[in-house]
């Protein structure tokens, strides 16, 4: 029998289609074939796989907690950063006010600006996230944590920690409480500057520069502490996400078609399909060259 070009082409196409069909059949089996659907099928495996699924579900709960905590911590960081900027602005005014050339009137004008800074600082420490006060300790939904009466700042919250469980064995406190802010001496230093400017006391204004610098440093320490918590949470997130990927990988092997068979067929069919494609390519090139001649 004479073997024509069309017969060669037909055989190649049939070979390709058969390879593709085998590959598709395998892929469908791999995507749909679950060995374990009923507990009676293999009780030991079913129990074990249930345990893996429970672990995945628990990890997802921890990840949701982490997402919420990250929002809280980001808002805390932004707020403390603005609080720090207010202290820097007060320090700048103190440096200007310490100059002996200032008149009582100019210091009084600076005192009004410092008064505005204190208002802004109080407003910042009463910030909420999802309707909860960031700096009220565990009293997150009661009265405003901070009140200002004259130059006295009172704290109505507590020194409690808001803790979040971020992994099975690890909880972290995600809040900076108001007592820590009071202890930073930021409000005292700002109020002392205001008084010194109002009373035109240049020496006291100079002293307030040091006090404000110290308060700003203390605020930076709080910011660093928040950053450290954020890092712990990010680390936990990476571990949990990777854990779930690992668990899912194992489950996909335990629950799907026989992996050994799938791998063997996968390789064989891939290679076969590639070989058929290569043959077709060679024939096509040959025909095209002959045509051009």
């Amino acid at each position: 029998m004479r073997v024509t070009q069309s017969m060669i082409a037909r055989n190649i196409i049939q070979s390709m289609n058969q390879s593709r069909e085998n590959l598709n059949t395998l892929q469908v089996a791999m995507s749909t074939g679950k060995e374990i659907q009923r507990p009676s099928n293999d009780p030991v495996d079913f129990t074990r796989n249930s345990r893996f699924r429970t672990a995945i579900s628990n990890n997802e709960q921890y990840l949701r907690t982490i997402n919420d905590s990250e929002g809280w911590l980001t808002t805390t960081t932004d707020t403390l950063d603005q609080f720090y900027q207010q202290l820097e602005a007060a320090k700048e005014l103190a440096t200007q006010g310490a100059d002996e050339s200032n008149s009582a009137e100019s210091r009084a004008a600076m005192a009004i600006k410092v008064n505005g800074i204190i208002d802004e600082m109080v407003s910042l420490v009463n910030t909420t996230y999802m309707d909860k006060f960031l700096f009220g300790g565990t009293a997150t939904q009661d009265d405003l944590p901070f009140d200002r009466i004259g130059d006295t700042i009172s704290y109505n919250g507590n020194s409690g920690n808001i803790t979040r469980r971020i992994t099975e064995n690890h909880s972290v406190a995600i809040n900076i409480n108001g007592q820590q802010l009071l202890d930073s001496t930021a409000f005292t230093a700002a109020a002392d500057l205001k008084t010194a400017l109002e009373t035109n006391d240049a020496a006291a204004v100079r002293d307030s520069i040091t006090a404000l610098r110290s308060a700003a440093d203390n605020t930076l320490i709080l910011l660093t502490s928040v950053g450290s918590i954020s890092n712990q949470i990010e680390f936990a997130r990476q571990r949990l996400e990777t854990a779930n990927l690992n668990l899912t990988s194992i489950l996909s092997q335990n629950e799907d078609v026989d992996m050994a068979e799938a791998i063997t067929l996968y390789n064989a069919e891939e290679i076969s399909y590639q070989a058929a494609l290569q043959s077709a390519s060679n024939v096509m090139e040959l025909n095209l060259m002959q045509f051009l001649k």
Binding site: D45, N246, S249, Q253
Partner: protein
């Protein structure tokens, strides 16, 4: 300092079929792997029938088995960088080679294998130590379609 794994600290690509018999390599994962932190004893099974795939199996529980492929067979390996610290953590000296494996899973929608490029396994077969490292590069996919180099040549 970051090192490119396919140059100074990575073995040259070997032929896909360079495996004359099954191999079992005992491995210690001092920190376990995420999800199985308490499991430290594993073994790497290089089976002729599975090549180029290999299995990482918990010694005390064979159902805890991950399907892996050596990174050298993947097209997308160049983007992955392993830090010197991570190499040192599995006992690799600067001039010593480490094997890098990626974990595979079957994509439920397509039925095809995908590879987690974000968290490869660094394995020092000489010291028998392994570790799963989570890379900082967030652009690395966790479910990258598996394309073996052999299929492109």
């Amino acid at each position: 300092m970051k090192l490119m794994i396919d140059t100074s600290n990575y073995r040259e690509t070997r032929p896909l079929l360079d495996l004359s018999e099954d191999e079992t390599i005992p491995l210690e994962f001092p920190f376990g792997i995420p999800g199985f932190e308490s499991i430290h004893a594993f073994r790497l099974l290089k089976l002729i029938d599975y090549r180029p795939f290999v299995l990482l199996e918990a010694v005390d529980d064979s159902r805890i088995t991950l399907l892996l492929v050596n990174l050298q067979y993947l097209k997308s390996r160049a983007a992955i960088q392993i830090s010197r610290v991570d190499l040192l953590s599995v006992g690799c000296r600067p001039t010593e080679a480490a094997e890098i494996y990626v974990i595979l899973k079957i994509d439920q929608e397509t039925g095809l294998f995908t590879a987690n490029l974000r968290a490869p396994l660094v394995i020092n077969e000489n010291s028998g130590t392994g570790r799963q490292v989570i890379l900082d590069d967030k652009s690395l996919p966790v479910a990258h379609p598996l394309i073996l180099l052999a299929n492109q040549e």
